[in-house]
């Protein structure tokens, strides 16, 4: 039945497109034409990034190469307004504008629009993302909510990793890396074309490392350290020009990674393994009815953990189907209408007693009105309706029944509004307002773990099917000014943000309270525990001229929590955001290219904050993370145009930096050779 519907849909698109004689979308060609980055991540329509009604940073392929980084979080650590925390070699958590924590749930991460955010705990396992740095065209960082385009969890921000187009771009490279602490890794990317009608890009890569640092806690904790983290992945991305103006996409990926992990919000260390697979198919048609995109994908993630609370696994399978139409009416109005269906299920015997899932039905619309050549107003709206489902019985002392799970639902609107005023060729003002929605994770809904006192079961730690979504409302004013005489652009932003219905997961283990009916028993459960406000801003400059390039920025954020659970250093709490966010950060760097040489330096300083963790005895403790300065230097030399040698010294300032309550980050020296063909 589903196959028949899909075939009928495809036939309908082909029928509408048969009269169209347009070329397919080629973002690389558009970028080359306009001479600046092009994005679709702000409103779902191709735009020059500078025109987008969103606060967006784009990191291009040259910047990725010159960073010398071996992974995406290390690249992001030098982006203004981002909070990047090293918890282990293999686990780094990233958040936009504060609110970071182990397993940060507020940042939606995607690769070419396919979600790589994990819905089980609600976080991103960066090491398991099946993409090689050499195949990335650009990393798009959106600061602030963008749920109206991407749906749930795009609340703090969005990172969309855009790879090269296998039909229109030819990327062929082999990179080998080696370094201190036993680091070894590499990647290979190859692109194949057939008569300009079909393209296939294959990529494979991985690394193995040695991690010997341990956190300052009892030695028993070491039982859950993984001393040899690794990651490996494979991806195949194909495009087929079915007919003029009609492009088909088929993508498959597989990855496996292993490392030490600080479990989200429980703060306990675990040794974890991810096995991820995905399959994606899409069709884009340039028709008389507009640019129609149909996309469907399946993600599955098998997660194994050896932790102080025991060994457990999580199987998360999600199916997503999307369709949207982007069209222009008259000369000044662009619209996008879309629909999405999502089916998400999570299975675990040890911590869920079975399977729980949800279906999400969504509708969205966007209207971009070019009021005048200098002024554009964009409004996006989206409505998501989520229904929970569960058939397996719940724990005997769970406060919720299976029937309650099957009657639970959420309906949440989100919006993004942006006014962009290009006062002159050099001055751009943006006024933004948005509401984003953070859905409870599947474990927030369905965690099930019995609580024992000795041999006696006395209660349950339980997910709550009636948990509300957390919402983030954001108001922002941005001003960008190009300074041609300095070959630079200054960017400033000021924002105010309010998070309501902050979610406190059951697996925090706090608070514990007593229920008296039907029998006295102990419960910890997922709850909405209040609100939090943030105000802050960023100011930065970026430029390049005559082989030189430079950037510097400062970020400030002040957070005020109003939570029903009061945080104090003596009683630390994982969702104590005001203490858990560094207020100040500065990133700065410069680089120079001359002849066959290129040299870059990047640095970051951030103020202190308080992190938390749970030790092997299950005791939560607060750990002050002192302010720190870190810096990387990379020197690259092209032996010939196609072969580059590079050496990168990471963390020049200190041999070991404590960036979080996890494992310290150690200095590394890396050597690499990259051949492009």
């Amino acid at each position: 039945m589903r196959i028949r519907v899909a075939l009928l849909s495809t036939a309908a698109v082909l029928a509408v497109a048969s009269g169209a004689q347009a070329q397919s979308v080629n973002y690389g060609q558009l970028e080359q034409f306009f001479g600046e980055p092009v994005t679709t991540s702000a409103i779902g329509s191709p735009q020059k990034a500078a025109d987008a009604p969103a606060n967006m940073e784009i990191i291009n392929a040259d910047e990725i190469r010159r960073s010398g980084a071996t992974n995406i979080p290390d690249i992001l650590s030098f982006v203004s307004g981002l909070d990047v925390r090293h918890y282990s070699n293999g686990q780094t958590d990233v958040s936009v504008r504060g609110y970071d924590q182990p397993g940060s749930p507020r940042l939606l991460v995607m690769v070419n629009g396919r979600q790589v955010y994990s819905d089980d705990f609600g976080y991103t396992a960066w090491d398991s993302i099946p993409v090689q740095l050499d195949e990335i065209r650009q990393i798009e960082v959106i600061k602030g909510p963008n749920s109206a385009l991407f749906g749930f969890n795009a609340v703090g921000g969005v990172i969309n990793i855009i790879t090269y187009d296998p039909l229109n771009d030819s990327v062929n490279s082999v990179t080998a890396r080696g370094g201190t602490d036993g680091y070894g890794g590499g990647s290979a990317v190859g692109t194949f074309h057939w008569n300009d009608q079909a393209g296939l890009r294959l990529s494979v890569g991985g690394y193995r490392d040695s991690e010997t640092s341990q956190r300052n806690q009892p030695a028993t904790d070491a039982a859950y350290y993984d001393g040899t983290p690794y990651s490996r992945s494979f991806a195949a991305d194909g495009r087929l020009q079915v007919a003029p103006g009609i492009l088909a996409t088929l993508e498959g990926t597989s990855s496996q990674s292993e490392h030490t992990m600080m479990l989200p919000t429980s703060g306990q260390l675990a040794e974890v393994i991810y096995r991820n697979n995905s399959l994606k198919a899409g069709l884009a048609a340039d028709t008389s009815l507009g640019l129609i995109n149909v996309l469907a994908y399946r993600n599955d993630q098998h997660f194994d953990a050896a932790s102080p609370v025991g060994d457990f696994y999580l199987d998360n399978v999600s199916y997503v189907a999307q369709a949207n139409d982007l069209f222009k009416v008259g000369t000044d109005n662009t619209f996008r209408i879309g629909a999405e269906y999502r089916n998400n299920s999570l299975t675990s015997q040890a911590i869920m007693d079975g399977t729980t899932g949800y279906q999400v039905y969504s509708g969205s619309a966007m209207w971009n009105w070019q009021i005048s050549p200098a002024v554009a107003l964009t409004n996006s709206l989206r409505l998501d309706h989520l229904t929970l489902s569960r058939t397996d019985p719940v724990q005997s002392l769970s406060p919720y029944s299976v029937a309650q799970y099957n009657s639970a639902s959420l309906t949440e609107p989100s919006f993004n509004s942006g006014l962009v005023y290009k006062a002159t060729d050099d001055d751009t003002i943006r006024l933004l307002a948005s509401r984003g929605v953070q859905a409870p994770s599947l474990l927030d809904f369905a965690f099930q773990l019995p609580i024992y006192a000795g041999p006696y079961k006395i209660g349950d730690s339980a997910g709550n099917p009636d948990t509300n979504a957390a919402t983030v409302t954001n108001f922002e004013a941005d001003y960008d000014r190009a300074i041609p005489s300095l070959h630079s652009t200054i960017r400033t932003a000021a924002y105010y943000q309010r998070t309501q219905d902050v979610i406190n997961p059951a697996f925090n283990g706090e608070p514990i309270y007593l229920r008296l009916t039907p029998l006295p028993y102990v419960v910890t459960e997922t709850q909405n525990i209040g609100s939090s406000k943030a105000a802050g801003g960023e100011i930065g400059i970026k430029g390049e001229n005559a082989g030189w390039r430079w950037h510097a920025s400062y970020s400030l954020i002040k957070i005020s929590d109003s939570l029903s659970l009061n945080y104090s250093p003596a009683t630390p709490y994982p969702v104590g955001f005001s203490h858990g966010t560094p207020e100040h950060s500065i990133v700065a760097g410069f680089g120079y290219t001359t002849g066959k040489w290129e040299m870059d330096l990047d640095s970051r300083w951030q103020s202190s904050f308080t992190d938390y963790a749970t030790n092997a005895q299950g005791v939560l403790y607060a750990q002050k993370i002192d302010n720190y300065l870190t810096g990387n230097v990379r020197v690259g030399y092209n032996i010939i145009d196609a072969i580059q040698l590079a050496v990168t010294a990471e963390q020049l300032t200190q041999a070991s930096i404590v960036e979080s309550a996890g494992l310290p980050s150690d200095r590394r020296v890396l050597f690499s050779i990259t051949a492009k063909y």
């Binding site: 034409f33 020059k48 103006g245 340039d286 640019l291 982007l326």
Partner: protein
């Protein structure tokens, strides 16, 4: 009626105001060549480029001279190679095929070109925004400080040219 009034006012404005076009550059011409690659039916290869100018109009004549220097005996721009020829405004009826490059400063005289373009279904490019606003030429080229393309949709529709959806979403249509 209203449309004619608007065109008439625009023509008066074009004729009386400070020139709204910058000195043409090679980058402008190259941008023009690459624009043709975004047409629904992209142009490729050798493409005749008729540079229309008025010898008695100093600004127009100066731009024609500048273009002659830029184009030489032929210029590759994107996937086309322009094969240029200068055409006086009074002799535009002799233009057949290819693309027209309308020099700036022609003011209301541009109406003659518009009539020819519609009759012969020819694509026209210019750096004179007023000419596009007045409906005398379909595509305005601006390459500095940033590339910006403005298209007169009504004229483009009459000539029968259209762009791919993604490109159309990134340009200004009037």
């Amino acid at each position: 009626m209203i449309k004619r009034l608007v065109i008439g006012l625009a023509a008066i404005a074009a004729a009386s105001c400070v020139p709204a076009w910058a000195d043409v550059t090679q980058t402008d011409v190259e941008v023009g060549g690459r624009v043709l690659g975004f047409l629904s039916t992209p142009l490729t290869g050798d493409t005749k480029l008729s540079v229309v100018y008025a010898p008695g109009n100093a600004a127009s004549a100066a731009e024609q001279k500048a273009l002659a220097g830029i184009l030489g005996s032929g210029l590759k721009a994107g996937n086309v190679t322009f094969q240029p020829s200068a055409v006086e405004l009074d002799k535009i009826d002799g233009v057949t095929g290819g693309v027209v490059f309308l020099t700036g400063g022609l003011g209301a005289d541009g109406a003659k070109v518009a009539a020819m373009l519609k009759a012969k279904k020819l694509i026209c490019m210019t750096t004179d925004l007023a000419a596009v606003q007045a409906g005398y030429c379909a595509i305005h080229l601006k390459s500095a400080p940033k590339v910006q393309i403005t298209v007169n949709k009504a004229l483009a529709d009459q000539i029968g040219i259209s762009f791919g959806a993604a490109f159309k979403l990134m340009i200004t249509e009037i």
